[in-house]
Symmetry: C2
Subunit: 376 residues, 2 copies
């Protein structure tokens, strides 16, 4: 299949603001046709760079562009004020000007970091997302959220800065480590729950894997990206429906933060995806308790596929309060009130701000019983 | 006069984006009525804070708001990545959330710094400009340019982030040092040249001074702010007519940078305003040489009022090339071509990108002869 799939994202908040999401096999060899700028800063991490850095730089140079390549260390630690400041300074020394572009070639970390650089260098230059992980493809590359971490917390600093285009080469999924793939699978599953039941069942297909092939992924990816694009296009700066994307994330963030704070002595920190997986089960139970359609079975089946690491052994059925501090710190908390995203049924999320302590404790007991192996 | 003057700035680039510029004597005691947010970070510098910090904090607290006060050192050095990072972290530790607001109480440095903090903390919160210098009132507080400096240059990092309102207490001009007042006077004169001949003659009035009084300033300030607001409203992100605001600044920036680079041995660096003053004379001569209306006399008279420090003694009538490197570094240079803003006549600026070396050298000789005292 050589015909690219193109989704167009129209942002209702801004005039004349729309951009294309292009999916195409081997797009990394044809990037220049979507990037008119003649001077580009190509930002990647050392993992992705070793696979694709040379190819992408060569493609752009062969189209006559001046390419300044910068490689950061793979991993969340690169989303720091220090790396950000260093990148900005080196881009200026390269001679970047307002007609230049920044290209993010990598996963979520590279996209978030390079995006904030693009948003703020010279008060903003053109920006292209070339996501190489499943997570970046279906989630973080779409919607313009950019940001870095500070010691006080993750993504507390950044900008909404929409890319000029999202350019996806589905072939690069082949080199994605299984562990990294599963991180993206959780967000894809979540998008399915929010808007597309078939997508929520994608994990059951044996081709749902890094080597699933271009044909398979050219069907699945646009569906997942469409869910994100539809929500973002209605709410560019997270004042309303964009909060639906936090499905499973409120408890997930708390579990993730807790698992890092208490790591050690046999307790390995949860990945973001694992924590959100647990968060989705918690959400499903909260929803079922309210009489909404019960999706706990589907989430349990997804978790059987995901196989998350165990929860920390200091979490027990009767100590939900241990997580309360982490819930309060979540930056989506406004005016001290926690808004939970629940599903009335697949495709119909709602924001609920009157969840009672007893409801939370009941869903928590269910989650802990599951995690301790009673239901599996 | 107790009726506030209100200008409304409508930004054509964004839907639903407009904000008020409110001018009122003693507005610092009534700020709360324009700021609905209940938690605010009040950012000022140590000079302004000693005059007005307590009054403003008390006004806001008496209206029931939680006020977190942060004071940075007065001066350009506070527009650094380090001060920026420290402010962000302390705001997070204060517990700022997305419904909080950042208030800049001060001149251009505080406005630029606090504005970039507001633009990027939690990906953007509400922002209020309370300018206390003439420069900040007529220029930097309007239009949403925020930013900080890096060792490679000034304002190379930042965001376009429009304030929710610009709140001007004209009374505070009384405490403005004469030197600081003159910096703002240059931009006010420039705004006059761009759009309002009466404003360009304001410097001739004896009341054109920090103690000119509320009545006088409530007439002059809205005129100067209207010029800026009109231009910005047509061009939020400096793609077109906003470049007119660089009148006098292209050479001005180069002179300023050069004077800092070669300071010492009896040569005192030029202030920004002094450098722009010289830049305006250079511009007037370039324009006159092209057959546009000759405004050199008016600029000479303004310079006689401004009394800028002498140019560096390594600048001579025949070494314009010394400044070339500084001109090229200017971030308004796009694709290596310098665009000069010239006046066809007062109220009618044009962008010109075909200025020849011989024209520049001729205007330079004129400027140097003037600066060396031949024409004064």
């Amino acid at each position: 299949m050589n015909v690219p799939a193109v989704l167009r994202l129209e942002l209702s908040a801004s005039r004349d603001s729309s951009y294309d999401i292009v999916l195409e096999p081997n797009l990394r060899h044809k990037l220049a046709k979507y990037i008119p700028e003649t001077t580009v800063a190509l930002i990647s991490d050392n993992h992705v760079d070793q696979f694709y850095g040379d190819e992408v730089a060569r493609t752009l140079e062969q189209a006559g562009k001046t390419v300044h390549r910068h490689v950061v260390a793979a991993g969340e630690a690169s989303k720091s004020l220090e790396t950000y400041g260093n990148l900005l300074r080196v881009l200026i020394r390269d001679g970047i000007d307002r007609r230049s572009a920044v290209i993010a070639l990598g996963g979520g970390v590279v996209g978030d970091l390079a995006g904030f650089v693009a948003a703020s260098v010279l008060r903003g230059v053109a920006f292209y997302q070339c996501p190489t992980s499943l997570l970046a493809m279906v989630d973080s590359s779409i919607g313009g959220k950019t940001g870095i971490n500070i010691p006080e917390g993750k993504n507390l600093l950044g900008a909404f800065w929409q890319p000029n285009a999202v350019l996806v080469d589905v072939e690069v999924l082949r080199t994605l480590p299984e562990k990294t793939f599963r991180e993206g699978a959780v967000e894809l599953f979540k998008h399915g729950l929010l808007a597309d039941e078939g997508l929520a069942d994608a994990f059951r297909n044996p081709r749902f894997a890094p080597d699933g092939g271009s044909e398979y992924w050219l069907e699945q990816l646009p569906r997942a990206m469409q869910v994100k694009a539809d929500i973002v296009s209605q709410d560019e700066t997270e004042r309303g429906v964009r909060a639906y994307l936090n499905l499973g994330h409120t408890l997930g963030h708390a579990l993730e933060a807790h698992s890092h704070a208490y790591a050690g002595a046999g307790n390995v920190p949860l990945s973001h995806g694992e924590a959100v997986g647990y968060g989705l089960l918690f959400m499903a139970k909260l929803a079922a308790q309210r009489g909404y359609k019960d999706e706990t079975t589907r989430v349990l089946e997804f978790l059987a596929w995901l196989k998350p690491k165990p929860l920390h052994d200091n979490l027990t059925v009767d100590n939900f309060h241990v997580l309360q501090g982490y819930l309060q710190k979540d930056k989506k908390v406004s005016a001290q009130k926690i808004r939970w995203v629940l599903l009335e049924h697949i495709g119909s999320p709602v924001l609920v701000d009157d969840v009672q302590e007893t409801e939370l404790e009941s869903a928590w007991r269910y989650l802990l019983n599951y995690a301790q192996g009673i239901y599996v």
